[in-house]
Structures are given as structure tokens and as C-alpha cells.
Symmetry: C2
Subunit: 146 residues, 2 copies
């Protein structure tokens, strides 16, 4: 299975109601392989020479995100949106200096989100939640001591 991520990507696209196109398959392959939140400029770099058109990429990512194939993540890292392929729901610790990301999981978090919705008057159901923890990583701390 791991042998042919291309076929996997095609299948994933069809399952989620999209057309299985070369372009979207390649986007998915990048996100699946990198396993971290990426911006459009970053994805373009990974796609390399024969990259997709910029506009197409933005549209594809929005489409994939709204059908929950990928997830849009907002980190305090630059100005660009990040998109991530998610196998298992998780969160991130982000370094405010260098932007390095470390993922972590926590079961409670979903319940906190549920409770917030229950108490809410404006909302009935949560579709997603994000918990991001910010700090300065050990490496950057050391840099500052110099």
C-alpha cells in the first residue's frame, strides 16, 4: 500500500466526492508525506518544477478542507494559512521564534469543546476545534543566552 501513494490519493479523493485528478493527488501526496501543517508557498516548493498553478492550489486546498480530507490550521507563524493532512486528531506546540512544530494528542480537549458548545446559546454542534500551545523551543532559548 505504501508502495503506491498515488493510488491511495486517488482513492481518497473519490471517497470524498472529488474527481481523481493528477493535481489534487499530488497535493495530497505532499501533505501525507510531510505530516505537518504547510502553507501554499511551502507546498509549491515541494511540488517542485512542474508545480500546479497557484490559483488552482488555493482552490483545491479550500475544496479539500471543506470536505474534511485535510484540515486548515492556524498557527502564529507568518501570515499564511496552513493546511494539514490529519490521520488522527492532534494539536501542536509551536515555537514563537523559529516556528518549529511538535504535535501532541489529548483526549480531554474534544470534551472541553463539546461542553463549550453545550453551554453556548449561539451554537448547537462543533465541527472542529484546535488547541495550539506557544512557547520558545530549547534551541532558541539557548541562542538568546549567547
Amino acid at each position: 500500500m505504501k508502495q503506491n501513494s498515488h493510488e491511495d490519493a486517488y482513492a481518497l479523493l473519490r471517497q470524498s466526492g472529488h474527481r481523481a485528478t493528477e493535481g489534487r493527488a499530488r497535493i495530497l501526496e505532499v501533505l501525507v508525506k510531510e505530516q505537518k501543517p504547510m502553507t501554499v508557498p511551502e507546498i509549491i516548493k515541494k511540488l517542485g518544477h512542474a508545480g500546479l498553478n497557484e490559483a488552482t492550489l488555493y482552490r483545491a486546498l479550500e475544496a479539500l478542507a471543506s470536505s474534511l480530507v485535510i484540515r486548515r490550521v492556524d498557527l502564529q507563524k507568518g501570515n499564511a494559512r496552513h493546511y494539514e493532512f490529519v490521520l488522527k486528531h492532534h494539536h501542536h506546540v509551536v515555537c514563537l521564534k523559529c516556528g518549529v512544530i511538535e504535535p501532541f494528542s489529548n483526549e480531554l480537549c474534544g470534551r472541553i469543546a463539546e461542553r463549550a458548545i453545550k453551554k453556548s446559546k449561539l451554537f448547537k454542534k462543533a465541527s472542529d476545534h484546535s488547541l495550539e500551545v506557544f512557547g520558545v523551543c530549547v534551541r532558541c532559548l539557548n541562542k538568546n543566552h549567547v
Copy 2:
């Protein structure tokens, strides 16, 4: 005290190691009054006619955020950064359709963040965390049924 938010703003600026300037005081007054995450364009509107220069605003907000007078919040709402004056740490439920925001508090969340840091190899201390819950508000749900 509430009578003169201008003086309060000046004091707050000095306490946090900034110069007490007219401009930054007015920014703070807007954020304190509105009590919600705001983008630069939104702040400009509130400042009105004799608003500050755009570049100045961006620089001021970054300065205030990095000295923790205000907080940078990332919501899945448009492309712009949001800044918020925070009296008591809290989180948000955000409508993915119309962007309406409802705040909530939860004590556990801070502990989850602490635990994530403790388990981490890259980080020793968290400086902040954010939990945002996403959904579609009741009003927008009703619109879709029509």
C-alpha cells in the same frame, strides 16, 4: 476609573515598558472597549477619521503583543490577524459561515497545555495557548434550510 480610559491606557503602557503615546493609547482604548478579537482594518475603522498610519498600527500591535499587553489570536476568519485585549484568559467558539464569536472559559485547558510541554523534548515552558472551537451558528444553520 472607567471615566478615564485614556489615563488607564497610559498607565498600562508605562507599566509594560512602552512609551505612553497618544497613538498606542487610542489603540488600547479601542481593544479594551470592544472586548473581542479585531483585525487591523477593523481597528482602523473604529479609530475613525484621524486614524493612525497603517504601518504604525502594525508595528504597535506587534510590540504590544510581544510584551503581552494584548494577545494575537488566530481564528479561521478571513486572512487577517486578530488582536485582542485580554483581561481573563479565555477561548472562542467561531462560526465558520458568518464569523460570529462567542467566548468561553475553561480551567482544564491550561493544564493540558502544561502537560504537553512536560512531555515535550523541544520545549520547557509554554508562554501561551489557544483553543478555538469551530462550528456553524444556529442563525446560519437556519439560513441554509431556506
